[in-house]
Structures are given as C-alpha cells and as structure tokens.
C-alpha cells in the first residue's frame, strides 16, 4: 500500500481519458473496467443532473411564491360535472390533482412490466411522509455542500405534498423507464420545469431530445454520452398543474426514443386537467 502522490493520479486519469480506443473492447462479460470515459464532463453532468432532479437553481431559491395554490387545493374536483360518479383520482380545473399517486401514474402498458427499484423507493410506490423527507435528503446528496441547506429549506417552504414512482422495463430487456410524480406548489412546479428547460438547452452539457407532441411545456434531453457508449439515457420533464413529472430512461443504444415519448405522452394525458380519470 504505497501512498502515491495526487498529481500522478490525475495524470493517469487524463491519460486514460485520452486513450479510450473503441477497438479494444473485449467482447466478454469479464468485469474489466472502463477507465471512466471523459470523467470531467461526466462529473459535471452528474452535478447538473442532480440539479435537474431537484429542479432548483440559486435564483429559484430566492423567489417567494404566493400561497394561492395551497389554499385552493383542498377542494377536490369542484368543477366535476354534478351527477356523474366522482372519480377517485384526477385533476380539477385549477390544476390541483387528487387521488393516490399510484392511480395518477400511468399503468404498466402492454409490452412492459414493472422494472428495477428506484433506489430505496421501490418500483411502484406512493411515498409516505417519512419517505418524502428522505427523498429530499437524497436529492441533496449530490449537490455541493454550500447549496444543500438552501435546498432543504426550499423544500420545507414548498410543502412537498406527495410523490410517487413507478418503473417500467420493456419486454425485450433493452429499456428501463422511471416515472416520478412530485406534488408541490403550482408556481414552483412551473418555475422548476422552466429551469430544467433552460439548463437542458443552454448549459451545453445535454443533447436536445425528442419533442413531446401536443405538450409544448414538456422537454426532453439526453445527458452527455461518449461516442460509442452502448448505453444511452434520456430525461423528460413536464409541469402538469401542481405535479412535476420527470421521466428517466436508460436503454441500449440507439435508444428507442419514440417508445419513451409515447409513454411520457400517456402519462401527461392521464394527468390532464380537468377530469383525467377517463
């Protein structure tokens, strides 16, 4: 165990970064490691991806939101046509969603089954109050230490009312989709979604993703990937009233983006306001 000096480590990393020939891939399952392709940019992408996940920015943190959303909230489906049976989930015209998160999440479609767990939260879960607290802690983990307390305070202020996750895996085992719904103040949801759009298009760390037909407020981005990477990923974000919808896709390259966008469209249609229960 010789303690080598740090500069040497940095040098070897750089060398490894520069010398990643695609030709020498041993076509076996041997646990031979890749020497992290382009570690620096990937590292930056990781931090930005974390920002996307939380959907915050320093500017957002300072914005004060009027408390209209929460006061309007607790009257579910006031606009529902009288006489018809009241749906157990859906949205009202003010954008407030009611019902279980697991009902609001798009059901597993044909050709898919439930996928791997999303970390500690399972693959088909409505988060409890305790889980929502730990969700905030998880969101904070990847951030620079200076920002962490600010993010915690922000979530406390925003009244994280609900969260749910469902994951999907394609029948061909080539695609995994993780769909998150996070419920908090409408204005903040909207602002977060706009921030995601700005980061996705202006930061230069992402490739522009596919459009979501019929939903101009939804945006998709592909995180940075080295050329020739066998696995690609995609992030889509949208704001539906008081719900922020985030879809993360991982799959074998080339990613079947149309399949992912179809699933995202189905999810947004389910949350459409008002009366999403059809």
């Amino acid at each position: 165990m010789t303690e080598n000096s740090t500069p040497e480590v940095a040098d070897s990393t750089l060398e490894a970064v520069e010398s990643t020939p695609e030709s020498l891939v041993p076509e076996s399952q041997a646990p031979a490691r890749r020497t992290g392709g382009l570690a620096l940019r990937a590292g930056a992408a990781v931090v930005v991806a974390a920002l996307l996940g939380v959907g915050i920015g320093v500017g957002i943190l300072k914005v004060k939101y009027p408390d209209t959303a929460t006061t309007a909230a607790p009257q579910p489906s006031a606009s529902a046509p009288s006489g018809s049976p009241k749906p157990s989930f859906g949205a009202n015209s003010s954008g407030y969603h009611f019902g279980s998160m697991r009902d609001l999440l798009v059901p597993v479609p044909n050709g898919y089954q439930l996928g791997p767990d999303s970390g500690a939260y399972g693959n088909d879960t409505e988060l409890t109050a305790d889980q929502r607290t730990s969700w905030v802690e998880d969101a904070v983990l990847g951030l620079p230490a200076k920002m962490q307390q600010g993010v915690r305070d922000r979530w406390k202020e925003l009244h994280l009312r609900g969260a749910g996750v469902r994951t999907f895996r394609s029948g061909q085992d080539d695609l995994v989709v993780t769909m998150w719904l996070v419920q908090y103040q409408q204005d903040a949801v909207k602002a977060d979604n706009a921030l995601v759009e700005a980061l996705g298009s202006d930061s230069g760390l992402f490739r522009t993703g596919p459009d979501v037909p019929g939903h101009p407020e939804a945006h998709c981005y592909l995180p940075f990937a080295a050329p020739g990477d066998a696995i690609d990923s995609l992030i889509c974000s949208a704001a539906e009233g008081d719900l922020r919808v985030e879809m993360r896709v991982e799959g074998i390259a080339p990613l079947p983006k149309d399949k992912a966008v179809t699933l995202f469209t189905q999810q947004l249609a389910r949350l459409a306001s008002p009366g999403a229960s059809a």
């Binding site: 891939v25 076996s28 890749r34 570690a39 990937a42 767990d117």
Partner: protein
C-alpha cells in the same frame, strides 16, 4: 333309474299284493313330505334373517345412545372488540433489514480514504442504476439485458480510494423469484479463492496476474470478495496497480458480511 331298479328288486314275488300296497303307500306318502320340508326350509331361510334383524334392531334400539366424541378443534371464537391496528402492526414481524435502505447496511468509507468517482460515474446518492452498472463492463449492452432478465432490482454502493488503489463495495439485490441470480453470482469464481468465514459459498481472492481494463491498455490487479445472503449479493472489488493485499480484502469482506447477518 337306480331307484326303480332297487324298488323292483325289493318287490319280491312272494307277497305281490302287500308289495303293491306298500308300493302305493310309498308312492303316495313321500310326495307331500318332501314338499313340506322344502317349504319349511324356504320359510326358515326367509324368516330367520327377518327375525334376526328384528331382534337385533330391538336390542340395539333398547340400548342407551353413545355420546359423540368432542370436536378435535376448538370452535372458532370472534373478538368482541375491534382490532387495534397500531398494536397489530407492532406485533407483526418486522421487515427484513435487506428489504429496507441497503445503503445503511454498507460498511463506512475508512477515515483515511479519499473520495473516488467510480470511473467517472460518480457516487451521487449511493445507488447505481442498471444502466450505470452495465456501463462498468465491456459489452455493456449485453450486460444491460443480462441484468434485467436476471431480475436486477437495485445496487447500493460505496466507493473510495487509497493512493492508486480503488475500492468498491456493492450490495446488489435481485427481485423476488430471482434469488438464483444471487446464487449464480457467487458461483462464477476465479481459480485461487479462500472462503469467507461464516458464509457457505462466499469467497475472496486476490489475483496474482494483472488484467487489462476494457477499452484500454491500462493494467490492474484485481481483488474480489463475493458472498450472498438471500437475494442480496455482497461484492467487494479492489483495483490496484500492485497485487492486492489479501488480508485487507479478507477484513473488508468479514466486516461487510457481519453487517448483513
């Protein structure tokens, strides 16, 4: 025929008349006698069982009834009060710790270790997604499909580095019904292995010869420790420019295993 013969023989010529009379008597008398016997026998045959059944019935009916044996099982009883949900939940068996947050079961990063980015994949929140995990191997696309069809559920990890030696400790869990994937993970082993104390199949091994990273010419010495508990695989991987210290690996494996038991 024989009877007729004997009768004729008995009819001696000395007394023909008496013989004739006797013959008439014999012919008249035996007929009704035989018919009566037969009828008597038939009647006895029919009446006997009837009478027997009647008597038997009477005897049995006169006896006192035998009491039924008690039920083998206690009769179901219903609680009169409503069940206290809280108390019932507390009395229910606790969830297994391997079904909770796996990150809490990982050993801690040593105090003197530096942080490491896990080959550029970062250590964002302590979880490795299926895509990120597949990317750690050459032939990532096939690895991705293999993990999913094997029932990959989640992978919690902690990584660090000491000098040029990199450490990765993972707890890989497979979905219900895919525990065989966890067993298989321990089955594929290098040739020179030592058992991990307290496990049935777990092993640790420090390679004597270097390997080459995928998509690179850089060489490394591998140290591996693998064991499984139910559907969770514990995997410790050490990557070093020098041969890996076996005793250190053994100690890591032992400490991580103790947290799973």
């Amino acid at each position: 025929m024989d009877e007729q013969v004997t009768e004729e023989l008995e009819q001696t010529p000395e007394v023909e008349e008496t013989a004739e009379q006797e013959q008439e008597q014999e012919q008249e008398q035996p007929k009704p006698q035989r018919g009566r016997t037969a009828r008597l026998l038939v009647a006895a045959l029919l009446l006997g069982p009837l009478a027997g059944a009647g008597v038997g019935y009477a005897v049995q009916a006169a006896r006192p009834a035998t009491a039924l044996p008690p039920l083998a099982v206690a009769a179901p009883a219903y609680p009169s009060a409503a069940l206290d949900a809280k108390a019932a939940a507390e009395a229910a068996p606790k969830a297994l710790n391997i079904d909770g947050d796996l990150r809490k079961l990982l050993i801690a990063k040593p105090a003197d270790a530096e942080s490491w980015d896990d080959f550029g994949r970062g250590e964002l929140n302590g979880w490795l997604s299926v895509g990120e995990k597949a990317m750690n191997y050459g032939g990532a696309d096939r690895e991705f499909g293999r993990l999913l069809s094997g029932g990959f559920r989640r992978d919690a990890l902690v990584v660090w580095k000491k000098g040029d030696t990199k450490y990765e400790v993972e707890l890989i869990q497979y979905a219900a019904g895919h525990a065989s994937s966890a067993v298989d993970a321990v089955d594929s082993r290098p040739s020179d292995v030592h058992p991990i104390e307290g496990t049935s199949t777990g092993f640790y091994s420090a390679a004597k010869t270097p390997k080459t990273y995928a998509e690179s010419t850089e060489q490394y010495y591998a140290g591996t420790a693998v064991a499984h508990r139910g559907d969770v695989v514990m995997r410790i991987s050490v990557f070093s420019p020098n041969p890996v210290d076996e005793n250190e690996l053994k100690d890591l494996a032992k400490r991580q295993w103790e947290r799973l038991v």
